[in-house]
Symmetry: C2
Subunit: 219 residues, 2 copies
DNA sequence: GTGTATATCTCGGGG
DNA sequence: CCCCGAGGTATACAC
């Protein structure tokens, strides 16, 4: 990890063109070669960057970073205030809990939470346009396709619509209905779901996790 | 901009829960208060972070960052290898060229480029499922909904299809036809557009900009 | 490699 | 403030 504090101006040319006038900034060069130019504000996103793999050519007063796609990051270094390097070593890595995969697992184990009497047929049921999160059977014998999101937006409804199109071509499954499940379903997603005849449902992650742990306590 | 190189373990609790075992990392604290924990790899994204506004409480061997939403970032600092601060000042900011907004502005001002005699009714015309980029009137009185992308992919065609569905329910507008405009329209998007009765069109950004600047030269 | 789906997405604009 | 769409999205994973 190399950290350079410098007065510089920066230009990017590639998927778009962008320019930064001269100012003091942090230049971060990581062990994998990626370069980032940070200002003293603005969340974690750098003003400009170049991801690995790339090639950094450092000449007097000018760094040029190029990648195989032909994109170029040019840093005109006017004055270096500090230039330090720290070998950090490989990171042991991140452990996460509470992402969509976990929500899916909880709902798969408790799918009667989606509708009474629902039985799980399969998780990640494959179709030609991607896997359906949950495929379930209702007590009346009809099939339900369930799409799960943390935040239910319009894209998710489109995704479920595509699955339903393809599932309903299978005479063995037809008719298949859709349910859109999320911790929060946005207004436009509700409108589109209603319009497509898709039911939507908001679920509470903590409550689901609570059920799960109380059930485990029984065994 | 404060840069701390330290051996630390980190925990985040909020939208999800996450944990980092002890290792040497960079802790970056920006002037606006945002905190980021970087490893020596993995593009520009930090392993963990907390955006502004937040509150950083630094006690011996432990930093606790909390935000108004009740999220918490806890950094257990085991050993500090370096701790430096650099006042960078406000950044003059980024100038971008070639984003969708420019393309939309150029086409709004030159919509006869989309079809002869076209007249702009409104940019960002609202529907229940989102705003249409351009709504135009053709010489024959019919309405055109225009969706603009830098890269025309299948989801852009889906987006325009949704708008057309809803616009065509309005007796005052009906019938509304669609035009999908992009610098590059991908093969799959062409097929889908054709299937939906949507016309597609590739435009050259530099050429449009050229028209614009030559028009400006006239005044 | 291409395509698809996720993300503590971030960021900016509009109501 | 929330909602929504764009992004040089990045990133992981399946085919």
């Amino acid at each position: 990890m190399r950290l350079v504090i410098a007065r510089c101006s920066v230009d990017y040319s590639g998927r778009l063109a962008a320019h930064l006038p001269p100012a003091n900034r942090l230049l971060m060069v990581k062990a994998d070669g990626c370069v980032a130019v940070h200002a003293d504000g603005g969340a974690y996103k750098p003003l400009m960057w170049m991801t690995a793999p790339n090639r950094l050519v450092e000449r007097e007063g000018s760094w040029v970073v190029t990648n195989p796609k032909g994109e170029t990051l040019t840093i005109a270094v006017e004055e270096i205030l500090s230039d330090t390097s720290w070998p950090l070593g490989a990171d042991p890595g991140l452990e996460k809990d509470g992402v969509e995969a976990h929500l899916q697992a909880l709902l798969a184990a408790n799918c009667e939470r989606i509708a009474a009497g629902l039985r799980l047929v399969r998780r990640e049921y494959p179709t030609d346009v991607g896997p359906v999160d949950l495929l379930c059977r209702a007590p009346d014998g009809t099939t339900l396709a369930v799409e799960i999101k943390r935040r239910g937006e319009i894209d998710g409804v489109e995704q479920l619509s595509r699955y339903l199109d393809f599932l309903n071509r299978d005479p063995m499954l037809r008719p298949v209905r859709g349910v859109f499940v999320a911790q929060q379903v946005r207004p436009q997603a509700r409108v589109l779901a209603a319009d497509r005849g898709i039911r939507w449902l908001e679920v509470d992650y903590d409550e689901l996790r609570g059920i799960e742990s109380s059930e485990q306590r029984l065994f």
